[in-house]
């Protein structure tokens, strides 16, 4: 329970209208998009200036209050679920795009800027910010950086990490720490930027972020190829890469997902197809057209039953509408949807898809799989009802099994959703006891009272 005088102190810092303590308001910050238990915080603050953000962090530390930073609360691993009675710092009051520099191709933003709004603003200037997580219409840059968010364009363009040139953040005492710069090259100091990307709010609180921008591709072309087996689709992916073609996106949908999308959107998809690939190439027009023709040939050679190449923007939209509908189509089938993101080296995709099918059968569950075939990041999506305890127990076992199989194939627990609460207990399995120890010591040195989003990523040791 926070004392009245402490609440007054917070209100002095952020303003009366930006601090909430009502049980009803607190309840609305007790969850994020992950399927984990809700935890009610003790106070919500929404700073509207960088200075008040720093002061709020310091106030939390001075009083030993656990602090969880929250952007749009779209986290899929529970990273924005607060601690009981803790403080939630909402960043959507800090949403200024400070600068878009066309000459030097970078943007400076506050942490609460919405990803899609930044993408649109830079595109209006003929520039491109490629990371496009599924939640980009609402997710914030601060959250994307804290989670090292990915998206559909990972294969060619990389993930959020690849675009963070520098950032400033408040340490636990409210001191402003700066790292990186507005230059392409920067060799001064520790690479604290690298440390902070993906730190899930456990080491500091972002104040400002410098992002790299690139030229907007002049031309795009999309196509859809249908296969009678997952193996053939995977062979086609391998053949495309082997021929040194790097599509901007190379997406996969399994039969269950295809059927769900077809039921949902009546797009005319072949419901008996085992797998479907959605490919988009971008770049210089001549190169794109040439590569597109080669991809089409490769898919045919690898046994594609049918290929649809989008000839104009409308058709391109229709191709991507099918992919965008995947999550919705699956979500409408059962009350609870568990979206996993175990990732394997791309050549192991057929093995991983087969493993997921085995797991679905063994635990008697419905799992639809789609995802980013180009970068090995699949989204096995378990459809269930959390109110059914027997089935839920099987879901938990299935998740364990998916992780085990992904690790056995040299993969990772999470391609893009982060570790958070949902995967923290598995982290040692992927890494080592030494890794957890090293991380614990780092955390203790930088956050001695353990107030920065404690319990996320790993449980501190010794």
């Amino acid at each position: 329970m926070l004392s009245d005088s402490l609440i007054r102190e917070f209100k002095t810092v952020v303003g009366d209208e930006n601090a909430w303590t009502d049980a009803t308001d607190l309840h609305t910050y007790s969850y994020d998009a992950a399927v984990v238990d809700a935890v009610r915080p003790g106070l919500i603050v929404r700073p509207t200036t960088t200075a008040s953000l720093g002061k709020a962090v310091r106030l939390c530390n001075d009083n030993g209050l656990p602090l969880t930073v929250r952007g749009a609360g779209t986290n899929l691993s529970g990273g924005t679920v607060p601690l009981p009675g803790g403080v939630v710092v909402v960043t959507n009051g800090l949403k200024a795009i400070v600068e878009i520099n066309e000459a030097d191709m970078y943007a400076v933003v506050q942490p609460g800027v919405v990803t899609a709004k930044l993408a649109a603003a830079v595109e209006a200037k003929g520039l491109f910010y490629p990371p496009d997580p599924g939640s980009q219409a609402v997710s914030t840059i601060g959250g994307n950086v804290a989670e090292n968010a990915g998206g559909l364009r990972g294969l060619k363009y990389g993930v959020t990490r690849d675009y963070v040139m520098g950032l400033s953040f408040f340490d636990v005492n409210g001191n402003l720490v700066k790292s990186g710069s507005r230059t392409v090259k920067c060799a001064t100091g520790y690479n604290l930027t690298g440390l902070m990307v993906g730190s899930e709010g456990t080491l500091g609180v972002f104040a400002e972020i410098i992002l790299k921008l690139i030229p907007l591709p002049a031309h795009r072309k999309a196509m859809m190829a249908v296969f009678e087996s997952v193996e053939k689709a995977s062979e086609a992916v391998a053949a495309v890469i082997a021929n040194r073609i790097v599509p901007a996106t190379l997406e996969f949908m399994d039969n269950y997902t295809i059927r769900a999308v077809e039921d949902f959107s009546k797009a005319g998809l072949p419901t008996d197809a085992a797998a479907m690939l959605l490919v988009e190439l971008d770049g210089h027009a001549a190169q794109v057209e040439e590569d597109a023709a080669r991809v089409e040939t490769l898919c045919r050679d690898m046994g594609a039953i049918s290929i649809r190449v989008a000839s104009d923007a409308d058709e391109r939209d229709r191709v991507w509408a099918a992919r965008r509908a995947a999550l919705s189509a699956l979500a409408q089938r059962k009350p609870t949807l568990v979206l996993e993101d175990a990732t394997v080296p791309r050549s192991r995709i057929p093995d991983m898809v087969a493993a997921i099918q085995r797991i679905a059968k063994r635990y008697d569950l419905t799992i639809g799989t789609f995802g980013h075939a180009g970068d090995g990041n699949l989204h096995p999506t378990i459809l269930t009802d959390k109110r059914d305890p027997a089935e839920w127990a099987r879901v938990e076992k299935a998740i364990d099994a998916i992780f085990d199989d992904a690790l056995k194939m040299g993969g990772t627990l999470s391609g893009e959703h982060g570790t958070g609460l949902a995967k923290s207990r598995y982290l040692e399995k992927e890494t080592s006891a030494g890794t957890i120890l090293f991380s614990s010591r780092l955390k203790r040195a930088l956050d001695p009272k353990n107030i920065l989003n404690p319990g996320k990523i790993f449980s501190a040791k010794e």
């Binding site: 049980a23 009803t24 919705s328």
Partner: protein, 432 residues
């Protein structure tokens, strides 16, 4: 807490619908209220979490939840954009009914809803008195937009620039009609709607003028009631069902193909809300009438064969169109009103940015949360002004009230009209 358990039991009725929300948060990108405040309790995900919380007895504050539920325009932007297909408006309307049944309606709302709205004849008389007295208390501020403001400071009116009540409401000018189908072979029933009847009778006259021109027969029963949405959005199921029964009886007498209204909110209420919220006794009749209810623009284009005029490109008026939420998001009607504008002589259509972003009216939302409503409306007004259009058209009288207020406060000289009014004026100017 026995009473909390009772409430939780009532909320269980919504469980199967509440569980559909997977907390993905995509509603944040389209919610006009959240856009203003950034508060989770203002967006659908937060409100749905609160209802689930009440159901699971995680906290005890039904008044607080009701208050937060009221901070919603019921615009349906969230539902239209929801990956999981959560029936947000239906849940919120039912939840408001459960909560206000549990706590009782506030006395002022009871007086307005049960004492006035539920009795169409009383409501009509009261607003007629209002029309006679309003000149004493208000003064015109903007002739082109057609707004007035308070002569003296009033806590209810504040600094609104509002559209005044019509001197003579439509139902006094044209109490009833029953005309057979003409050359079109079609006959419609016309549901007038309170705002058109009492503030915008010209929209109803224009509708009749256009229907006549196209040879469409009209059944207009007298003593029509309110569609019931103001009652329902306050959680007053009782008044809603009384109005529903009244209206069903009024229209049962007629013989017509389609029921049309020129009010987006009335259309979406009849089409979407009547079937889901009607009590057992009236459900079948409500479903049947809902199935043949249509927005006037949609009827004109789809059934009556209205087409864009050839002269549409060199119009003397530049018209920009605002999509009422209840047409675009509830009924997916957005092409036809634009076609109607393009069919109106002398009108050239020019799109604004985000034409389907809510204007912030939301009926009683505007009365309860004027500052929020104004913030949303000012954004809309800026986007309208940026087009350089001389006329704003929209298919909903409630949006017209809000946009008139916002434009007038900004000193704008942009006229606010219904597409059907533009169409009718074109007929009067150029043909007979």
């Amino acid at each position: 807490m026995a009473s909390m358990e009772a409430l939780a039991r009532l909320m269980r009725e919504l469980e199967d619908q509440l569980i559909v929300c997977m907390r993905c948060g995509m509603c944040q990108s389209v919610c006009p209220v959240f856009d203003q405040t950034g508060r989770e309790a203002d967006v659908a995900r937060g409100k749905l979490a609160l209802l689930s919380g009440l159901m699971e007895q995680m906290f005890d504050d039904p008044e607080g939840v009701y208050e937060r539920l009221s901070r919603c325009l019921l615009c349906g932007s969230c539902a239209a954009n929801c990956p999981s297909g959560v029936r947000v408006q239906e849940i919120f309307l039912k939840a408001r009914a459960i909560l206000s049944g549990y706590m009782g309606l506030p006395p002022a709302k009871r007086l307005i809803l049960r004492g006035m709205l539920a009795k169409p004849a009383v409501f009509d008389r009261l607003t007629e008195w209002g029309a006679r007295f309003q000149k004493i208390f208000t003064r015109p501020v903007n002739d082109i937009v057609g707004t007035s403001c308070a002569r003296v400071m009033s806590p209810l009116i504040q600094d609104r620039h509002f559209r005044t009540l019509a001197k003579v409401p439509f139902h006094r000018q044209v109490p009833a009609l029953d005309r057979p189908a003409g050359k079109s072979g079609l006959k419609v029933a016309l549901f007038t709607g309170c705002l058109i009847d009492k503030m915008f009778p010209n929209i109803a006259h224009s509708t009749i003028r256009v229907l006549e021109h196209l040879g469409v027969g009209i059944f207009l029963p007298d003593n029509q009631g309110c569609c019931g949405i103001p009652a329902l959005s306050s959680g007053d199921l009782d008044t809603f069902n009384r109005l529903l029964a009244h209206n069903l009886a009024r229209f049962a007498a007629g013989d017509f193909d389609v029921l049309v209204t020129a009010c987006a909110t009335c259309t979406s209420t009849i089409h979407e809300v009547w079937p889901t919220m009607a009590d057992e006794r009236h459900r079948d009749a409500a479903v049947k009438l809902a199935e043949r209810t249509m927005d006037i623009n949609q009827f004109l284009v789809r059934d009556a064969g209205l087409e864009p005029s050839a002269a549409a490109t060199d119009g003397t008026h530049t018209v920009t169109y605002h999509d009422p939420c209840h047409l675009k998001k509830s009924l997916k009607v957005f092409v036809e009103p634009r076609t109607v504008i393009q069919a109106a002589r002398g009108c050239r259509l020019k799109e604004m940015a985000q034409p389907d972003w809510c204007c912030g009216m939301g009926g009683s939302f505007n009365l309860q949360y004027y500052d929020l409503s104004k913030g949303i409306g000012e954004k809309k007004a800026d986007q309208i002004k940026a087009t350089g259009a001389d006329t704003l058209a929209t298919g909903c009288p409630a949006c017209m009230i809000q946009i008139s207020d916002m434009l007038s406060r900004a000193g704008s000289k942009i006229a606010v009209r219904h597409p059907v009014e533009l169409l009718a004026e074109g007929l009067d100017d150029h043909s007979t």
